[in-house]
Structure formats: C-alpha cells, structure tokens
Amino acid sequence: MADRHPLFKPLIFVGGIIFGFGLGFSHMARPEVVLNFLQFDDLGLPFVMFGAAVVSGVAFALLPRIRDAAPLTGDAYERRLKPFDRNVIVGGAVFGVGWGLSGICPGAAYASLGVGNVAILWALGGMFVGAYAQGYLRSRSRDRDAAPASVD
C-alpha cells in the first residue's frame, strides 16, 4: 500500500534474511535432515521449531505491554490466533503426508533455493500447483454458495 512507512518493506526484507539464514544454519533447508528427524535418526528438529516458537512467544507476550502499536504500521500487537475447525485437522494431515514424503516445508523450500538446491524447484512448483488447486476449488464452491438462486 502506498501510505505505508518507507521502512516497511526494508524491515520485512531484513527479517526474511535472518529467518532464511537460520533455516540454512539449522540444516532445515536440507530435506535429508528433516527426513532423518521423521525417521528418528537425528532428533534435532524440535530445537529449531520450538526454539523459534519460544523466541517469538517472548516477543508476542512482551511487545503489547511495551507499546500500543507497531511503529511502521500503527497496527496493534496481536497474537496469531486462528479459529479452529475441521480444516485444521484435514489440512494438517495432508500437509503431514507431503512433508513426510518430501522432507520440505514452504519456508525451508525458499531457503533451500538460496543454499543452492536447484532441485527444490520441483517442490516449489508442486506447492504452487497444490495451492492453486485448493484455491480454485474453494473459489468455485464459495461462488456457488454465494449465488444459490442463479443455479440452473
């Protein structure tokens, strides 16, 4: 958006660089290392995910008490809370099969490209195909629900 603070995108870029560097350093950008965890050959992965969750959890808990709003957007600091429904289980299970088969998740796939893993374009291509397929079907079902009177 045009009225956003000039540092909005630069800050997000810097955050992304740190995020991606961490995924490289932790070897999460390497599908083999994720698969080694899922096969119980190397149990390091939870230190990455829960280590990151602890760091963000501290910020999510403290920042709302320190400031009323984020400096670059004026938005209030809120936690990431999403409504629970069946989709969380169904989608989580489908993601689980894909993650267990390939050893790669979205953020790690972007970082994997950065560490030189050109073959990860197969996974990224697949992710776009999958995201498009579910978006196409959900768009159609929503459009149908929105206009029940016009169906032939």
Binding site: F8, G16, I17, I18, F19, G20, F21, G22, L23, G24, F25, S26, E32, L38, F40, D42, G44, F47, V48, M49, A52, S56, G57, A59, F60, A70, P71, L72, Y77, R80, L81, K82, F84, N87, V88, V90, G91, G92, G96, V97, G98, W99, G100, L101, C105, P106, G107, A111, G114, V115, W122, A123, G126, M127, F128, V129, G130, A131, Q134, G135
Partner: protein, 185 residues
C-alpha cells in the same frame, strides 16, 4: 558432575550432529520473526506467499483476499532466499566457522564462483508430489511449520497446537512408511 558414559552414548545416537546448530538456527528463525513482528505487528508465516503470489496471475476469488499483502510477502520470501544464500557464502563455504556449527554429510556440495552450494539427493518425484500435498495442506490447514509451528505455538494458540500435533504425527508416520517401503533417498 560425572558424565555417565551410557547416557552420553545414547545422546550421541539420538543427536549425531549435536543440538547447537539446531538451537542456534531456531533462535535466528525466531529472531527474524520478531524483527518483522516488532516493526509491523505482523506474525508472518511462509505458506501464505503461495496464494498471495498466485493472485498476481489468477483472479480466482480465493486469492483475492491476499492482494493487499502480496507485495510484502514477496519481499519476505526474497529475503528468505537471500538469507539461505548468505548462509551458503559463509558457514556452508567454510569462510566462517564456529564450534556451534556442525557441517553434516547429507546431499552433494558443488562450487559456483567461490561459493559452496548444496544439492539434495532426494528424488524429484518425492519433492514434486510432496510439494503438491504441502501446497494443498498448508492452505486448507491455515498454516505451515512457521505460521502454526513458530507464530501460532508462540501465541499459545490451541488451533496451532492441534495443527502442529497433526502434521508432525502424520509426517512421522509417512516418512517411516516410505522408508520401510525401501524408498531412498
């Protein structure tokens, strides 16, 4: 403290690469999340990028909701790619070393313009098919390892805890079955 050799042996088997590279990497992933959140109030996840980027080329109504965030999500993802490259140019290339970083033996290393790059041995069909399911599942399930796993768990969100438990359990089961079927790498 007396170190029990049996215990040390067990730890070495469970953590053949130690834990420091995982813990330090996790702290950095968390720090990247916090930088974005502190400045903008946005708890950023990685998988929304897939749909928000599709909104550039598709007018399906589902992707329309991400038009407002698609530009910064592209910037965030570009940062993640560049962060991976920065890691490759430093620790992966051996230009920077630390006792906290364990190099590891997976995949193949190759060199371009003095930078040591890395390539996976995992077969393309696994990456592509798995990728399709990751694309469907993360978007229907409202998040991935960063949205649910890092931001959601960090928010003590029950939805995210259930999501993480679901995809972690199913992924372990899937990987074990695939390995048992003799698929490798």
């Amino acid at each position: 403290m007396v170190a029990d050799p049996v215990l040390l042996q067990a730890l070495a088997e469970l953590f053949p690469n130690g834990i420091s590279r995982y813990a330090v990497g996790g702290l950095l992933v968390g720090l990247g999340t916090v930088v974005v959140y502190a400045g903008t109030g946005i708890p950023a996840g990685a998988s929304t990028f897939l749909e928000s980027t599709l909104s550039y080329v598709s007018d399906q109504s589902r992707f329309g909701r991400y038009v407002g965030s698609r530009d910064w999500r592209l910037v965030f993802t570009a940062g993640i790619v560049l962060g991976g490259l920065a890691f490759a140019a430093t620790f992966q290339s051996g230009v920077v070393t630390s006792s906290l970083y364990e190099p590891g033996t997976t995949g193949r290393l190759y060199e371009v313009a003095g930078v040591t790059l890395w390539a996976t041995d995992v077969q393309p069909w696994r990456l592509f098919l798995g990728g399709i399911l990751v694309g469907i599942g993360t978007r229907i399930g409202k998040g991935c390892t960063s949205g649910h796993g890092v931001c959601g768990v960090g928010s003590a969100s029950k939805t995210s805890l259930v999501g993480v438990l679901t995809f972690l359990t199913v992924a372990i089961g899937t990987a074990q079955v695939v390995a048992a079927l003799g698929v490798s790498p």
